[in-house]
Amino acid sequence: MTAVETPRKPSLFGRIFRFARDLWDVLRRPSSVFSLGLLVLAGFVAGIIFWGGFNTALELTNTEKFCTGCHEMRSNVFEELKSTIHFTNRSGVRASCPDCHVPHNWTDKIARKMQASKEVWGHLFGTIDTREKFLDNRLELAMHEWARLKSNDSLECRNCHSAVSMDISKQAPRAAAAHERSLFTGEKTCIDCHKGIAHKLPDMKGVPGWQ
């Protein structure tokens, strides 16, 4: 039975292939109705709309509201951020999630956004959907971020805290001494010492500089 019916009703793959072939036939022929100028103009306008829409959508995924839309972020890391100096401080400047976790540079940002597709997977399959699971995975998650910041020389820290504009005479003596010794010489990068400044730490056994 099926062997007889198959040629009359093509499979889904066959139909998609046929549609793509027809579309290609239309696309490769020159337009006989619209002028070249109109096509260029229409392409230009469509480009603005699509590019604007793409960037708007991208920026939408780069907000604190979006990040805390998932309970994994809202009830774990965001809660912890609230008590730190990056959330409330004397000058009222707040660093929210994307300021530290998404590169500001466009290419790096897109690369990070593509990596983040794994986080969508994790959300859908509940990798850290309970506090216990989150704590179990915390070391691995933290190590990803430490490795990222280590490899880009703490770029996201330096978006705000640049060594060049740092006046160590205004710092507490021991901070000034440490920055002079390790930061200005390039011996260490921010994340080497400043771990756990925005979130609670995982088990630090074996992490350099920790007991």
């Binding site: 003596p173 021991r174 630090m204």
Partner: protein
Amino acid sequence: MTKGSHLIGACLLLGCLTLSASSLLAQNPPPLSLPLRGPTPLDQIAPAPRMTPPRNTSQKESRNYPEQPPVIPHTIDGYQVDLNGNKCLSCHARSRTGDSQAPMISITHFMDRDGQFLATVSPRRFFCTQCHIPQHETKAPVENDFVDVDTLLSRAHPGGARR
């Protein structure tokens, strides 16, 4: 006990109470200094005093007596000290003092309660802020007339304290 003894007891108690009450009334109340809570009446809540900035230096403070846990001269805001890690030890641990130039935790911190030395910090000494506390630049609400032992010794031996 009989009814009579109850009655006697009650009379005695009443007598005592009356006596003490009358003696209290008879005395003039001592002049009150300004109480710690300020001039606010008892049934009202005074505005809380302003929080003071923490002391943030790298200068040791001298101890008031030899056994005093040294106070922390710097801020410790956000320092995590729990099962997962100890931020204080990032500078004050034996192996870290070379980098940090911070004072090492004393060797008593390696002792268990039987006086045996362990290889690492004894769990009972792990939680630093149980004994060591940061300081705030604040005015003491009451005057402190504490005298340290050196002063006492120099009083006992005028002209030369044994140190």
